[in-house]
């Protein structure tokens, strides 16, 4: 059963295809009688317009693409959800592709989406060469989220990893801590590296200095972070506080502290999570809100597409860097005073 086309509807209603097109698209210059007849034919045949053909003709697709590490990651799930909600208001569909942290797959996904004629792209870039993107610059406005790329000229929406981490570490220092461990690092993530630098600079500037024995590496995942924090506390009994560099690691740190019954150890988590306020004590967290990032990024994209409030922004003007504010949510774990 072939799907009906404008032609079929036109034959059924005994009008020209253009008239059907007018009715379907809600144009007003059609007489009520004809409109009615066409509508009946449309309903009878269950006609559904073919947006592929429409897009081909008009030269503009009706989708935007979202390329992320993994949609299963709650952070990116929320981000994507915000993108979808914002895009929907502008009448755009969302296609999704995950990279699995693989730069080659990122490129494949982007290429596929460009072939699919996406109007624009929201991309959480994997580290690597993004030169391939430049050929699309003029045609497919692209906004990077969460992380930036090594080349100029792309709008980017990030949080201030460095500054927010300094804020978190300062918070611990303000509560008397001097031996602050860093857990949850991973060289693969530029964002986490920024947090590491923030941690180091903050301690240096506070005149405390960094002790490498307190810095754990390559333990960004939950299980690794749990092991790491247990080892850290074992090897360094003088540690009084832990800064966890990412959400997944924080879950492990929480568990580790709990298992070791170290309610005396303070903790600040970079990244908020669902049960953070449910735990006892609540986990003090730096909230980097994926919804805000998604909304801001999509708003930028829509502006570039001329679908925002203002006029379309030409590609030549791209390259803006938006820093979405973070906030430190005090819940108890970060306000534990150092034991005297």
């Amino acid at each position: 059963m072939r799907r009906p086309t404008l032609h079929d509807v036109a034959a059924e209603a005994k009008v020209s295809i253009k008239t059907v097109s007018r009715v379907v698209n809600g144009e007003d210059n059609v007489s009520a009688g004809v409109r009615e007849r066409v509508q009946v034919a449309v309903d009878k045949l269950h006609y559904v317009p073919n947006t592929l053909a429409r897009s081909l003709k008009v030269g503009l697709g009706d989708t935007i693409g979202v390329v992320m590490d993994s949609i299963a990651d709650p952070f990116f799930a929320s981000l994507t959800s915000a993108v979808e909600a914002t895009a929907l208001e502008a009448g755009l569909n969302v296609v999704f592709g995950s990279t699995g942290f693989d730069h080659g797959r990122e490129r494949e996904q982007v290429d596929r989406m460009v072939m699919q004629q996406v109007r624009g792209l929201v991309l959480a870039p994997v580290r690597g060469d993004h030169g391939y993107l430049t050929r699309y610059r003029e045609r497919v406005p692209t906004v990077c989220v969460d992380r930036s790329i090594e080349i100029e000229g792309y709008d980017t929406v990030v949080v201030d990893d460095y500054g927010a981490t300094r804020h978190g570490v300062e918070h611990l220092i303000a509560h008397g801590h001097r031996r602050i461990a860093f857990v949850g690092g991973n060289d693969r993530y530029d964002t986490i590296n920024q947090r590491m630098v923030g941690y180091r600079d903050c301690l240096e500037d506070a005149g405390i200095g960094v002790e490498e024995r307190l810095v754990s590496h390559d333990d960004a995942e939950t299980a690794q972070a749990e092991d790491a924090v247990l080892r850290m506390l074992e090897d360094n009994p003088d540690v009084t506080a832990v800064f966890s560099a990412n959400t997944r690691a924080s879950l492990g740190v929480v568990h580790g502290l709990h298992r070791a019954r170290r309610t005396d150890v303070a903790m600040v988590s970079f990244g908020d999570f669902l049960l953070a306020e449910t735990l006892e004590p609540g986990v003090t967290a730096i909230d980097h809100d994926p919804v805000a990032i998604g909304e801001v990024a999509t708003a930028h994209l829509l502006a570039r597409l001329g679908l925002g409030d203002g006029p379309p922004v030409p590609p030549s003007q791209a390259g803006e860097r938006v820093v979405v504010p973070t906030r430190l949510i005090e819940r108890g774990s970060g306000e534990i005073e150092v034991a005297r």
Copy 2:
């Protein structure tokens, strides 16, 4: 700057557009010399094929659609992730649309995707009339996930909400519990209603009987569930165990029990969550694995599209109902014996 087409490449390479098409599609009947020349032109012009035009001509799109409550919900995020991974292997892109539990929006999303010529659909149906789907039956294979619809003839992949709940409640009974509260209900969700029935039947069959004072209603969200469990324990001091009917509610129940310092109260959660094993005691949970649901559903869809292992399955044969197994993960909270 117009994007280059086959025409442009053909002109550049001084061949016909068909030859370019052959090279781009990797057909073999092209001489090495010409192939080389075309390839150079493709690279020089940064030619990217237009899959919209291709799909229009071929009559088949290259995407499947996923329609869910919300991508921000971890359950559906994982499910969608599994769908994407499976679809990608078959060379299909994924478009995503959320319903926000609104039946009207479900229909809008489905309609949009059909217009976009999706090859197939994975749908978590919102309760309501799905008659509108039948017109697409022949053209767009559709698999329902997590919930079924009121009409026959659609493949459905669900978990055994009823049976799994019975299993969970039996587990509590086996540990001596008789006063088992039910928290986290919500009439809007058929799945949760099934769980409620399972709870009731299980208690009846065990000769315990249902006491309505132990059944809380309309508290499916975290904050509501927390209030509900606190009220429940206050009003009914004889309660020794709680069955939480959904994951979000479980977070509230955990918090509530914690706040009330009721480590003597047993708990089983329908739905696993990230910190379930991190808490003390670990939360015994019925795991309904979204990844399994997503994979099975997509495999079914691909089979219907003729992209699976076997031959394409005609729409007339649709209507299969797959029940993905669940398991009860014992972590401690469900094994608390009743206080004597």
